[in-house]
């Protein structure tokens, strides 16, 4: 199983070593750049129909060991023109409600994490927290993730 590191230096995070900043990691969280896009199967169907394929949106994905399922910001999913494929009951510390489930492509530019072309994700409001995606335990179940606070880096393998 290949192992990868992501370092968190002053004001930025990257795959190359730099002056480490545990404070930066603590502030932004264990995150990776992510691209949210229309699934390739849908893009292919849209191409066949001569329809325009919406462009992808870039942001950050937070590794969230507290989340049982992966979430993506619902406004991004709606801008991509995606339709919900079902609803699911979601429990948070303060409430419980139904949420929409969508299928989207998740790609991780600059990271060896493989593209996920048809990922089922829960639509959620994440923009206030500056994340596009929460990577939940449905993805983490196939990975190893180490949070190294003093070393200001995360290590992941899959």
């Amino acid at each position: 199983m290949p192992t990868f590191h992501r370092n968190f230096t002053h004001g930025q995070d990257s795959d190359t070593p730099g002056r480490h900043s545990p404070q930066h990691l603590a502030r932004v969280g264990p995150r990776l750049p992510v691209q949210v896009a229309v699934p390739e199967s849908l893009a292919s169907a849209l191409r066949e129909q001569g329809e325009e394929i919406p462009g992808s949106t870039e942001g950050f994905a937070l590794f969230d060991t507290g989340a049982s399922a992966t979430c993506a910001d619902e406004s991004i999913l709606q801008e991509l023109g995606l339709n919900p494929v079902r609803t699911v009951r979601v429990a948070t510390p303060s409430s419980s409600a139904n949420a929409n489930v969508y299928v989207c492509a998740l790609r991780f530019p600059g990271s060896p994490l493989p593209d996920m072309e048809e990922r089922f994700v829960i639509g959620a409001q994440l923009q206030n927290q500056n994340y596009a995606v929460l990577i939940g335990r449905d993805i983490l179940q196939d990975m190893i993730l180490i949070y190294d606070g003093p070393g200001a880096r995360i290590t992941y393998a899959f």
């Binding site: 989340a67 948070t92 409001q125």
Partner: protein
């Protein structure tokens, strides 16, 4: 309500689906069952291939509804009223 027709179809036919296809994923469009697959990704591909970018339901055929736990989540407008 999102996917109202499809969810109503699923509810009306749940017992029958459970008897024959428990644990699999149903693709429902309007008030018709299109098919049943082992993997939800295959059901999605079939739905997109047949109908394009429209609303269709992909639902696991199970007795109990799953509940996801997302402590960080802010519940959004698309979700229904909070339950104390």
């Amino acid at each position: 309500m999102v996917l109202e027709l499809e969810l109503d179809f699923f509810a009306r036919n749940k017992e029958e689906l459970l008897r024959h296809h428990e644990g699999k994923f149903a693709l429902i469009y309007g008030d018709a069952l299109i098919g049943v697959w082992d993997a939800q990704e295959r059901a999605y591909r079939e739905g997109v291939s047949r109908f394009g970018n429209v609303s269709f339901l992909i639902k696991r055929i199970a007795e109990e509804e799953a509940v996801e736990s997302i402590p960080l989540l802010i519940l959004g407008e698309a979700m229904d009223a909070h339950v104390p």
